[in-house]
Amino acid sequence: MSRQNRRNSQSLNALPKERTGISGFDEITRGGLPAGRPTLICGSAGAGKTLFAMEFLVRGATLFNEPGVFISFEESDSELATNVASLGFDLNQLIADKKLILDYVFIERSEIEETGEYNLEGLFLRLGHAIDSIGAKRVVLDTLEALFSALPNEAIIRAELRRLFRWLKEKGVTAVITCERGEGTLTRYGLEEYVADCVILLDNRVQNQISTRRLRIIKYRGTSHGTNEYPFFIDDKGFSVLPITSLGLLHEAPTEFVSTGVNRLDTMLNGRGFYKSSSILVSGTAGTGKSTLAAHFINAACMRGERALFFAFEESQDQIIRNMRSVGIDLEKFVKKGLLKFQNARPSAWGLEVHLAMIHKAIDDFKPSVVVVDPITNFLAVGDQIDAKAMLTRLIDFLKMRQITGMFNSLTSAQDNIEDSEVGVSSLMDVWLLVKTIESNGERNRGLYILKARGIAHSNQVREFLLTDRGIELLDAYIGAEGVLMGSARSSQLARERVTEAERQQASARKQRELQRKQELYEAQLQALRGQYESERDAILLELDEEQKRLKEVADQRLEIARLRKADSRGMKIDENGARKARKGAAAR
């Protein structure tokens, strides 16, 4: 009581609330259950009522130091302890620490005879004692309706229940009372008329053969609350109600880059790759190599020693590893090193929300820096487009908050205009790669475009995308007078160009050789002429020489004759001039 008064005085008008500690539940109820009042949890068999109630107590004891009492009408202490041990709740330890009391109320109808008037003071006393002995703030009655089948007099039970709820309020404990859902009514025995403050319905509904647990707050007097149906799931960490808080675009934007795993693609993205913690959409029709692109991305991350998580919704782990080996990527070694983890599930295995929660959990557990979801399109098979988009928004927010780079593959139908069909999700993405088959000349070729890359200067050209046994290769598509050519058209065009080039080269070589030959010819002729001239010159020189010799002989003879005739020197002089004249004439000739 005093606790309740204190809370009331703290905030005069607001209804004091008690946090449950159940993941997500306190968010949708904006604070938890009404403090110091009873709350009714109804639902059909297997809806998770007992677990909700138990987690309420366990979280109270462990997180908020509020001891609790669990009165069970259905399961014994040891059964309960065993059942929740799988969720990591150690009830026996809590009991030993005086944080929890389990009381199994068992009534065997067959051994009970009723004679005359009675009341349920025994139950009150048991409960009261349990509450007082550990100073409990939280009480669970699971399932109170068992009283109706255990005791024959319904009128007495009803009167006593009314008294019980009043008594619980007076005690100031926050109580959770579970009850079975009835036909067309919230509870089989109409307990909701006694508990007027807060009624929560748990539901396990099957839609398209997929069962999804849902929680709805039917009534929460004196406070605003989420009115939707909130999906929840139960796993080995207990209850999780969704939505898990969305961060509302407050995440930081890192400036580091992560490689795409394909060199040429990095080049296309300003040479560096994606921004860290960005979300990347890879869309394309079937068989365009989306998964291979994802494998490259993961391969690069693991090579850097980072952790990667692969959510595969179409293939098994072995299948992916085998297939990627065929393009030269060995993912298995990273799995063995513990750097890579696969989470494989059929989309139809759970509802969307459960998938989301599973992804959240896997990410929380594994703490990867890179995540691949392949493909996101399959979620459309589980929910409708709106649901799927909402789920992706939350997933992307979640990844960004943790600075995880996420790659989402999306399978698009060949008929649609791909850019239209992705309108739903593409706005959420920072980078959008489109892998497209381009059909021409009776063949399909893969082309890769970067449709958008927020904050990164990127190439606007299409690249031809080849899957080789050494992984993805990006080639420049042929862009020329003939248009954009790919595949064999590109290679035949290139071959044609090679032929033309070769011919041109041959022609030029031929001309070179001709020039050479001509030069050689002229040089040979020049040589011959020179030879002729030299021989003629030699002959003339020889002739001249002989002529001179003959003239000298004539002159010598004349001198001899004159000497012999003993002529005077004057006559000889005249003769000498005459001989000189004759010599000059021979040279001119």
Partner: protein
């Protein structure tokens, strides 16, 4: 007013023991009556029980009255919810009769004194 019957009640239950014969006989019918405080209803229940025992089980019974107001922990052992509850501990098997025991016929059936 409320205090006087308490004493009377306790006297009665403790009175029975020494005046009767061997303890074997006494423990043939081991009955335990759970009440919560000295309410008129619990007094009625005790009175009715005593009458029935005197009439049908004279000298073979032993009645133990447990006030859960004083010993709330004892409620757990016999799984008591309703008060008053009469528990037949012996002879086996355990039988429980809830209410103020105002219908003698049903009490006899419940205790297996009379065939059903």
């Amino acid at each position: 007013m409320k205090q006087t019957p308490t004493k009377k009640q306790r006297q009665k239950s403790s009175n029975g023991r020494p005046s009767q014969a061997a303890s074997e006989e006494l423990s043939r019918w081991n009955l335990r009556l759970y009440v919560a405080g000295q309410t008129p209803r619990s007094l009625t229940a005790f009175r009715n029980l005593k009458e029935i025992c005197e009439e049908y089980l004279k000298g073979q019974y032993h009645i133990e009255v447990i006030d859960l107001m004083e010993n709330p922990t004892l409620a757990r052992g016999d799984q008591i919810l309703a008060v008053p509850t009469l528990v037949r501990k012996l002879p086996q098997p355990i039988r429980k009769i809830i209410g103020d025991l105002s219908n003698t016929e049903r009490v006899l059936v419940g205790l297996d004194i009379q065939p059903r």
